[in-house]
Each structure stands twice: as C-alpha cells, then as structure tokens.
Assembly symmetry: D2
Homo-oligomer: 344 residues x 4
C-alpha cells in the first residue's frame, strides 16, 4: 500500500538523518543552549529577514500553539480563530486547558476575514456587558489553512491592520508553512510572513523534520521570559540540539523550500489528474493536500493500492477524500496514483 493519507507518514529528510548520525556522540549543553540551536536561529533570522526576532524550538504544533497563546493572554482574554481553526476544534481543548476561550468566527474558504475580526472586536467593546464576555486579545490563523487554502498578501495585510488597530498580536500557525509558501496561488515570501505576523512558526514536523516547529517572535512583550513558558508546559527539550540540528539542515541551501515546493508540484499533478477525469475538488486547496469528491466506486478502486483519509461526505453520498503529498512522496508513487486516477 502507498500512503497519501497524511504528511507525517515517514521519518525525516535523509539530510537530517545524516547529520544526526554524524553529530550523535558530540557533547553539547542541553535545553536549546547549544551551538546547533544558535546556528539554526541565525539561519532562520536571516531567512525571514528579522535580526531582532526571537526564535524558539518546540517539538510539536499543539505545544507551540498552546505555549504561544497562553504566554500572551491575560486570564480573561481569548484568541480569535476561524471556526475550522486547528486550535478551535482539533486539539482536545488544549487552549482551554490553559484557561482561555477560543473565540470562533465563521470565515470563508477556511479563512478569517479582516472585516469580521474588526467587527467582532468592535462589538465587544461596544457591548454594555463587555466585561461579562471574553476580551478578544489575539488573532490566530493558519497558513495554509486546515483545508489547504491560502491567504493572499492583501488579506494578510488587512488582518494585520486590524490587529494593529486594536493593539493585539497576529499569530500564524505555520505547521504546513512550507507547503503554503510553495503554492502557485501564494503571493508572499517567508519574509513577508515575518513582516506581517507578530508571531508565527515554521513547521518542521510535516515539512521534512522528524519533529519540531520553529517559533519566530516579533511581538516585543512576548520575548521576555518566553523560555519559562516553554519549560512550564513540558516543552523544554533536554537534547535541544536535535531541534537545532534539524532546522539548521532545513535552512541550509534552501532545503526547506525545495522539498516543500516539490511536494506541492506533485499535489498539483494529482489535482489535475482528478479534474481531467471530471472529478470535482472540495474547496480550493492549492497546497499539498487535495480533496477530490469521489463516488464510492471510485474510492473503492483507488483504495486498493492507496491509503487516503476520509474528510467528509456530501449530501448526495459522495466522499470527500484527502490525498496528501509530502517532502517524502516519490515521483514514482505519484505517477502510480495518477495512472490509477486516469484508469478510473
């Protein structure tokens, strides 16, 4: 069986494995104070064009989300997210476990709209009972979104203008940042992201690393004491070098961008194959996740050789199915899938 089920089915990029083996018996200090972390921080700051940013490494996305959000909010404050946002529904209440409400707002194509955010915050302060409701104090989006869609630069800048107006940080969950930036519809660079986001993270787990997310902080009040938060939530990695070394590798010779771009190209080929066959896609994903709407018969045929994930069902009984490529997808496997689609 060939997996297109998710983008974390394999280990890590071979370059990373190689570096792990090479450096394995070196002795370093712990807790991200080692040379590899320092080097990785410098490479990332250079890549994003922010000398003054703080960069921290955290093993996983839910941890990154809960640490970033709880480090900013006062007890009575909450974070705005689109209803489909990862923090809103797919982290077992991780944010609430830190004491904060996720303020879910309906969006469009999985994206928050700046005007809705502005209105939500405006309404909060206009309401006579405002103190009886959670104060919105951060905006969370993901890039790309859960369903693979992409904010345009204009949309991001509009969101930034709103958060700046209200003096709250804009936080971008970049678990799949590499795939987002590689999208043919993407009109920003990682430097633009760093200009716009007050805090964001560069996802490693799904983009070539064995594990790890690099949190980039521009928002001044967050910088102080951030490592206490990391320790308190259990994310102070003892052998922090493992994180540093992975990001050093990914940000050497643009590896991060090369491997995610290739995966998105593969995904576009797969999308085209489905569309050529007259199969409609769910949503407008232009990233590494593709969501064809298959009849049960079509799915049964593909399921013989390829593992995918059921994403939902349409009213007329068809199945929204997710196919993911990743840095690890081979052209050979992609070709096999495309051939199978053609023969449907």
């Amino acid at each position: 069986m060939i997996y297109f089920q998710c983008d974390y089915a394999e280990g890590g990029h071979p370059s990373i494995l190689k570096r792990l083996v090479e450096t394995n018996l070196e002795q370093t200090t712990g807790y991200m104070t080692d040379e590899y972390c320092s080097k990785a921080r410098e490479l990332i700051k250079k890549a994003v064009g922010k000398d003054n940013a703080d960069v921290h490494f955290i093993a996983g996305g839910t941890q990154a989300n809960l640490i970033v959000i709880s480090s900013v909010l006062r007890p009575y404050q909450g974070v705005i997210s689109v209803c489909e946002g990862h923090v809103a529904g797919h982290e077992t209440g991780a944010i609430e476990a830190t004491g904060h409400k996720v303020l879910a707002i309906a969006g469009k194509d999985g994206k928050l709209r700046a005007e809705d955010v502005d209105k939500y915050i405006y309404d909060h302060y206009e309401n006579a009972s405002f103190e009886h409701t959670v104060q919105p104090a951060m905006v969370y989006i993901s890039f790309p979104t859960e369903s693979g869609t992409i904010y345009t630069k204009a949309e991001l800048e509009a969101l930034k203008a709103v958060t700046k107006k209200w003096n709250i940080p804009l936080f971008v969950d970049g678990a799949r940042l590499g795939y987002g930036l590689a999208s043919p519809e993407c009109d920003i660079t990682i430097r633009d992201m760093a200009d716009i986001a007050d805090v964001f993270y560069i996802g490693g787990t799904k983009c070539g690393a064995l594990f790890g997310e690099a949190v980039v902080i521009n928002w001044e009040p967050m910088k102080k004491d951030f490592r206490y938060n990391i320790k308190q939530r259990g994310a102070m990695f003892a052998k922090g070098r493992l994180l540093g070394l992975q990001f050093e590798t990914l940000f050497t010779d643009d590896l991060y961008f090369k491997i995610t771009r290739h995966a998105v190209e593969q995904a576009m080929q797969i999308r085209n194959a489905f569309q050529d066959k007259g199969i409609k896609m769910f949503g407008t994903s232009s990233t590494n996740q593709q969501f064809p709407i298959l009849t049960k018969e079509q799915k049964a045929v593909l399921d013989k050789d390829f593992v995918s994930e059921v994403w939902g069902e349409t009213e007329d009984g068809k199945i929204i199915t997710r196919y993911c490529t990743s840095w690890a997808s081979t052209d050979e496997n992609v070709k096999k899938l495309i051939d199978a689609i053609k023969s449907l």
Copy 2:
C-alpha cells in the same frame, strides 16, 4: 424613573430582611454548617421530593455554574450548551478558566434539542480523531432560557434520555427557575425538575433573595467532596447562615412560588398590552422577561418614565427591548407601564 430593566434592581423580599434583622445577633457556626442552612436544606429536599439529594448554597450564578461544571469534568472533557447559553457567552470565560471548553450547539428558540445533542455525542465517538477533540461529558441548559423560553416536559425528558444513554449528567441552570415554573406554558413542577435534572439550582438572587443559589445534586459522583470545590473557588460563605436563612424563608409557605408567579402574571399583562397595541414580541417568552420590538419613537416615549434594556436591533431598525418584572415589581408600576403602552 421606574425600572423594568432587570430582575435584580431591588434588595430582597421583606420577609427575608425581617428574618435577617431578627436573627442578626444570634451566634452560629460558619461555612453553611449552621441550623438555618440545615433547615433550608430540609425544606428544599421536601419541596423537590428528594430525600437523598445534596443541597449546597452558593452566593451567585456564575460561581454556581463554574463550580458545578468543573467538579464533574475531567481535564479533556467539555460541557454542551446551546450557543446562547449563559456559560457559552456571558461569563467572561469562567468555564474555560477552569480548563474546560464549552461545546456550543445551535438550538431552536434558545433551547437545545435532544436529537442534536445525541448526534453531537455520537459523532464525537464515531470520529477517527475523537481523541483530538474535546469529549462531551455534561449537558447544560437553563430553565427558563436566556430569552425566557420554556422547555416542555417532553423536551426535558428527551434530553434526559440522551444524557442517560451516554451516562453524563444533565445540569439545569435555574437562575430564574421560579419564573420558569410560573410560566403559563410550563408543564412541569419543581418535583419534575428534580426527577429530570442530575443537578440543578434554584435561583435566589433574581427570585426574592438578596443573593444566593441553592444547588441540588442528585448525581452520585458529584456528591463526594463537593464542599472542597466550593472552598477552592472562593464560594465557601463565611456567614453561611445568611444563605440558609434566605432559602428557609423562601421555602416557607411557598413564598418562592407565590412571588415568582405574581411577577409572571404581571409580565403577561405587559405582553398583552404590547400585543394589543399591535407591537410584535421578539421570541416566545412566557416568563418574567418580555421583548417587544419597538420603533425608536415608541421607545423614546416609554423611556421617559421607564428604564428598560436594549436587547438587539432588527434589520429594519427597530429595537428589541427587554422589560423585566420581578418579585419586587409593584402592581402600581406595572399599571403605569401598561397605561403608557396603551397611550403609544
């Protein structure tokens, strides 16, 4: 100015004040271990027909809600509420501050529907990623609802059947319980409520007391150690006798039921006055809160003598306005309001 703005504009029923004065210099033990609390507990258990219930007194509704809910849930569990539920939107994230997500579901007329709750829980366990989402483990409703509507006995029994099926408690916020039971549309008694709810509270603050809610617990696992929760959340009232004495008074000679019934009768007269005038009501409240939809001109006229609360605005620019009666509303003031309505 005459207030119809809310049901907590005055102090407490004169019988309560009288008892407070009479007993003021008596010496009792603290923390709800006194005789007045014991007596009040007995009267309430008799009134609700549950010898084995545990009864606790808590000063306010938000406290009662957060203590009850957090005493039951495990960290990864949440409470289901209708979107308009008080815990979902009007307590500044009090439930989230105890670590739990409020799982908001759309309802009808402000009421949760049993089939929606059942489907929500069913879907949770069916989902392949169920462990990545908050486990629904309690159902919260209020009786009457925020907008004054009333669950029928059949609706309550259907909700109870669902919670029983999933073995989770049904919690009824009865901040305005007295007004709900006095509604002409209400087909249950307080004994029915005690049969159906696994835990509920009898609102005092809005129904004749200076302050205080009586929590009635039937759900066995909640009974053990409940007082620790009360203390931890800052609700272990030092002079608990003040709570006991108020509920003793309210549950002597059916005072609680008499005064809330009178307020609802007044509210019905006010509703009829609006309707006779061709003014439409927002929603279908049959309790002490009434929501006429007024033109700005109509509102301006009434505002000269009567304080009300803006509840919302209709698309055509009319104002949804709340008029509340309470145990303290005088027939004289109600007559003045009705006369003013008639003269619109």
Copy 3:
C-alpha cells in the same frame, strides 16, 4: 453557650442592617455600578488618602485573594507567602487552581522577613536553572497575620523596599485589617497601609459587615480590566449595592475603626485575665484573636459556657485554644469569660 470561637459568628453591624432595610426597595443598577458603591468608593479613597486608587468590592476573602493574585501573575510566575499564610495552606489550593504556585518561605512570628524575600528572589535569578523554577512575582502578606501578630511600620517598609527593588507588587490581605490597626502594638494607620501596599483589601466580613471585602489597588498595571477578572471568577455581585452600602456604612463616622478597636480592647482584657492567672499565651497576638495554652482541665471548665477553637497542642499535652472577640462581642459576655478565667 457563648461563642468566642471565631469572628464571623454573628450577622452584621446593626447600622448595616438598618440601612439594608431602609434602602431595600430602591431600584439601582447592578454589578457595583450603583450610587452606594460609588459613595463607598469615595469614602474609602478619602479614608486611605488615595485619590487615584481603584476600589472594588468582592464578597469574600478567598475570592479576593485568588482574583488579585491571578490578575497580576503571568502563567510561570508565583506569589511569595510565609508558610503559615492563608493562601499557602487554608484555601484548598485556590491559587494553584488559577495556575500559580504559592512560594512558601519560613518566617518569624508568622511574618515574612524582608531579607528572606530579597534573598529568595535574588537566588532565583542567580540560579543557572532559573527558567526551570517558578519566577517570584508578587509578595503576599496578611495584616494582622494568621496568628494575630502585627508587622511594624519598619518591617512593612522593608518589605516594600524589596518589592520595589524587584518591581513586583506587595499585596496585603486585610481580612482582619480593622483589628490589626486597632492593636496596641500597631504603629501604622490605614493611610500608611495605602502608602505601602500596592494592593490590599479592607476586610468587611470579619469586621462588621455581613460579608464583603474592599480591594484597594494602587498598582497601575492591575487597574486595567480588573472587572473582567471579577466576573470570570464568579465574583461580580449582581446586587452590588449590598456591598457598597455596607462599606458606605462602615466608613461613615469611623464606624469601622470604632467597632474593631472595641473588640481589640476586649481581647486585651481577656489576655490580661489569662496572664494574671499565670496562663501562658501562644505567640504574641495583640489583636482580636488570643491563644491561651490551657490544661485540659482548664479548658473543660471554660468549655461549659464558652465555645472556643482548638488551634493546636503543645508537646506536654496542653491545648492551644483560640478565643476571638469581634465587633459583636458584648461587654457582658466578655465579663462572663473573664470571671470564668479568674475562677479557674
């Protein structure tokens, strides 16, 4: 039986009851936005000599403690308290339930020593693993202490100097503030307290009110949004006027100071009676709580007519017993107790 067991055995001062009755049917707005609260705030600000202070009313001491502390601390920060501090041991982990560790330090006579606090904070930042330990970010003391002792002005100023040095607030729990200020050993006024404490509260529950504590905030960062915290923790009293009215009464004609001074004078008479009898006192309380060390025989005699509280046991089997006076203690009852002591 005559109670000297605690200082919350009776209701409230008759002047308060009188005012409650007089104003009972007046209509006011809710949630501490009424005239009585405004008036009480003005009276308190005048009494403490701080025009710019913010004053909030909260029903009980544990609530006040947990709201004040959690409103200030970041997630990884804790509050320093002497080991015997109320927040350290007698509130069922109320502070921890808001996510914060109470950093307990040994004191002397129930009092924190400035040099110990300074050393504790200094050591924190000197430690190579400082990020692996809770950051001390507030100092909590009570005045008087749990065992009735009194900080001198010099001791308070030394604590203030340390907290100022580290730029963290000094919080004074004044649940029995009135009795502390009335102590013959007290060398400060309430104005001094307001000069020294960054935030403190004036205890009402034990000092003449039915219930209620008045929190006085001088620390600027705490002022913003404090009412959200009050609401979130369930302490936004619906009929806030009840709190305002009580403090208005207590701060009219120095009632608060007169009644607590009288109680302390009674306590001193009781202490003298014990000492005249050759009975040793536990600790050096000069406030309304007195702790004679009684033989079992002595206690048995006094227990016939007087209720007291067991505080502990000495190694030679004697019983440390607490006798409390309060604003409600009558001279007649005090005389009876003294006569009983004399006849031991």
Copy 4:
C-alpha cells in the same frame, strides 16, 4: 573538554540511530498507532511482567509528570512529593499550571518516608477544616531520587501500603530508572517496580534514547481516556513511531539494562577515586550521579579538562559538584577523569 555535566549531553545510542535510518522512509500511521509502538509496548509489558498494563510514550519527563498527575487528580486534590522532588521545584510550576498544588513534605536522603506520608494524610482528614485544605490524592517519588539515592524494596512497599490504605496511586518518576535499577544498592528489579508502582515511567531521554519516556499504567481509573490527556497537553507525537522504535530497540536484548549498568559501574569507579583521595561525597548516591565536595582548588584543577555542574556550596566554602556518567560515557574518558582525580 570532556562533559560529565549531565546525562543528556550526547544524542542517542547508536543502535537507535541505526534503526531510525533503516526505517526512515517506511510509511506508518501517526500518533503512536503504528507497529513500532505496538512492538515496543509488548516488549515493555513483557519486561515488567504486566500483561494488563497500559503503555504510553511521551517525549519528555516534565510532560510525563504533568500529564500523569493531572489525569488523576480532581481539582481540589494535590500530589505529595518530597521537598526536593522534581515536580516540587524544578518544573516551573508545571503541576500548578494544571491547577494542582504539590504538597511538599520533608524527607530523608531525598526520600519520602512512608510514616510521614501516612501521618500527613491522616492529619488532613482529622483536621476540622479539612475542606479548606488541599486533599492529598497521589504520592509522587522518583527512583532514583534527585540526588541519586535509592529506595529499598522495603521502603517502596511501605509507601505502597500507605497509598493502598488511602486508596490513592503511587507514581514513580523513572527519568533515570535504568541507573537506579543498576545501582549496587538497589534490591529491586523492574518487575518489582511494576508490582509496586501504580504508575511509573521508564526514562529514555537520559538512558540511551534521543528522547522519550514510557509510561506504564497499572491503576485502572487512569487507563480510560488517557490519550485525550496526551493530546490536550501537546504530547501526542505525530510521528509516534520515533518513540516506539526507540523503546523497541532499548528493550531488545536488554540494551536498556546493559548500558545503564555500565554507566553506574563507571560512576562507582569515579566515586571510589574521589573517596580514595579522601574527598567526601555529598549524600549517598549509588547511581550515575556523584557529588564530591571539592575545595575550590581541586575543582579548578578538574575544571581544566572536565565539565561538571555546581550543585551547591557547603558552609565552609567547599563546592558540591555533580559528575554524571551516562550510557554514552566512554571508558577512556572515565579513565582520564580518574587519573585527574588521583593526581589532585
């Protein structure tokens, strides 16, 4: 420079690296549902002799501690730990951040004594104000302790008897379990540990793995829904296979036990070298951590070639210094250190 500073200075055991490389491009399901995790679970259950245990993998020790503890306790409950316990002082309040107080008790040689625990719990329930204090509901120890000492089997069984008497779980933090079991003073096996502990974890991070702890649960109420807790706290490792594969390797051919035994033998040689030189040791560690009390001169000499960690200072100005061996310490480096000690 040669590091003896800690036991996490290197990467992972070469066998683990080898397996990571071999399996890197295999496709597996995520979140610990893969074959490697299954295999590792089976190997661990066999090694500990518990067919019915549940085994979960968590990336780090603080995470394991906070997840295990918060999964068991009700909001008003706390966990008993010796004052020096890791959860009591070295995790930035991670347990408090989940809402629970760590109830710190003085021990002996870094170990909790069963009779002290029993008395503490007994006293809690005997206290008239028991509801005003945190209810002890779990006992936490580490094996070996923070300072490298070892509980005897008799001591462990005594603790177990106490926890069983009070019906609360005994939780053993085994971050250095391998080194503890390899101590010449250790009189238990890992099977004994699994018989005694209601829940414990087998430390990987410090004992050969790149990272990872294997939590073994015998306590029935913890088993249900444990994975929700893992997800909520951000510890649901996407590529769980990395954890499974490491523990599979460590529990194949007794690798875990062989490498930790070797490290302890090295530590014993180092200890002997210090003692032969007349240098006293701090405490009685018989595990991989050794704490010689060095003069400043002695330390300066050793510091030329060897990195160690300052643990404390004696009153006469000597320095308690920690030297750690680990699975990665080479005999060559150990010999160099011993030679240096001899030449002091």
